[in-house]
């Protein structure tokens, strides 16, 4: 058992003990340990590494936010994150319960790489970069190269997720999640929508409807051409419907105990339209 207090410590321990399990908040790992399906011999605990918690602005104009992988979901709901990356705060806010959010970390959500991981569609829409460290050095991977399959990621033995980088965009963001109740629910379908008013683009990604988070590129292209990015004129219902249809087309859902593929496709269509309307409510001065 190593309780690491620095990234270097953790990486050295992981190198020395290649079979050790990395433990952050324990909300995924301990479920498996308690069930007896995850043998536990040695552990490198990374929950007490100060440099892995919290965030900082980077770039000449602070246009990038670097968030430590050990930041908890509870911390992600704080006002700074809620204003700089609203969709991430919204997603973190839907994870589990207060108890779970106090433990669950961003890095753990990424490493688990569940199709239903709530931060993943947000990170996909933001085209986040994942920073990995090992005794060999640093690797930086875009999210779509990091999450490679159902509960499968690109980590190599000895490698630790240390941070996530996301752009600070000017424009509205939405995260929507469909499940059977408000709290403590694994998403049946989820969606993140982020707007870059400056670059005049909209990016949309879906969770729980494919093995990995999927982008809805055709829908993005459609709205980028037709939206009023100044937000004065809201999208008309024709555009919303076309957008929602294209987003639903991007989903590759399956039937499982949480819902059927058909239900998921429908749910995606509904939340896609809702997200676009919420992001572009229009200015009240405009009379339709």
């Amino acid at each position: 058992m190593t309780i690491a207090t620095s990234i270097d410590d953790a990486c050295a321990a992981m190198k020395a003990k290649p079979d050790a399990l990395v433990l952050a908040g324990g909300t995924d790992l301990m479920v498996e340990v308690n069930r007896g399906i995850r043998p536990i011999n040695d552990v490198v605990a990374v929950g007490r590494i100060p440099e892995m918690r919290g965030w900082s602005r980077e770039g000449a104009r602070g246009e990038v936010l670097r968030i430590g992988a050990g930041t908890t979901c509870a911390d992600l709901t704080e006002p700074t994150i809620a204003s700089l990356v609203p969709a991430l705060a919204q997603a973190a806010r839907t994870v589990g319960s207060p108890q779970i959010r106090n433990s669950a970390t961003l890095g753990g959500n990424l490493a688990t790489a569940s199709p239903a991981g709530d931060t993943l569609p947000v990170l996909a829409a933001l085209e986040a970069e994942i920073e990995l460290r090992s005794v060999e050095g640093i690797r930086r991977l875009p999210l779509d190269e990091f999450v490679v399959g159902v509960k499968d990621n690109a980590l190599v033995p000895g490698e630790l997720i240390v941070a996530v980088r996301v752009p600070v965009l000017d424009g509205p963001q939405e995260f929507l999640k469909v499940g059977t109740r408000n709290a403590m629910v694994i998403a049946v379908a989820s969606l993140a929508l982020v707007v870059d008013r400056f670059g005049k683009t909209v990016r949309v990604a879906l969770g729980s409807v494919a093995p990995i988070p999927v982008r809805a590129i055709e829908a993005e292209v459609l709205v980028a051409e037709r939206l009023d990015f100044d937000g004065e004129v809201p999208p008309d219902s024709d555009l919303v419907d076309q957008f929602a249809g294209l987003v639903a087309d991007a989903a590759r859902p399956i039937d499982d105990h949480r819902g059927t593929a058909a239900y998921r496709r429908h749910a995606v269509m509904v939340i896609a339209g809702r997200a676009l309307r919420r992001a572009f409510p229009g200015s009240s001065k405009v009379v339709e």
Binding site: G26, T27, L29, V43, S97, I100, N102, N182, M184
Partner: protein
């Protein structure tokens, strides 16, 4: 097989555990090695909240805390809510649960008390949404929650009243 000595501060008292095996949860250590059976064991997957404790002040499910990783931490369990120095005086949240009749089988009560105590530390006058959110990680299968919500309002009121009189709860 035995792990190193584990040292925890539990409800203000330093406790050492010498016989914990790797993989034991904090909940297991509390109940089976330290004879603190107040924290309940039900789902072992963080869904029910009946094992809720504070670890270094954070409200968490003790079933999901690896005991060995909590070495050196300060833990508050339901046993630590009542003020031992004042005889058997119950904490305000405990008294409120009794007064409102919010306890039926009682299994969920310790976890709920911990969650409500944490809520009232942050919010002295929580609205209904805040209350529901604060206990969303604690399942009760008996009461239908009505009396529990009443008890929480009662506890909040009594803590506010105590605060106005300058009494620490």
């Amino acid at each position: 097989m035995t792990a190193d000595v584990l040292s925890l501060t539990i409800n203000g008292q330093r406790r050492e555990v010498v016989d914990a095996l790797p993989g034991e949860s904090l909940l297991f250590v509390l109940r089976e090695r330290l004879d603190l059976a107040g924290s309940k064991n039900a789902c072992e997957e963080g869904e029910c909240g009946s094992c809720t404790v504070r670890v270094d002040d954070e409200l968490v499910c003790s079933c999901l805390v690896l005991a060995a990783a909590a070495d050196g931490c300060s833990v508050t369990t339901v046993e630590g809510l009542a003020d031992a120095s004042e005889g058997s005086r119950l904490a305000d949240v405990q008294q409120a649960f009794l007064d409102a009749g919010a306890v039926q089988c009682g299994f969920c009560t310790p976890g709920l008390l911990m969650a409500v105590d944490a809520l009232l530390e942050d919010e002295d006058d929580p609205d209904d949404l805040m209350v529901r959110e604060a206990v969303s990680g604690n399942l009760c299968r008996c009461t239908g929650y009505g009396r529990i919500l009443e008890a929480i309002n009662l506890a909040a009121a009594s803590r506010r009243a105590a605060g106005e009189q300058g009494v620490t709860p």
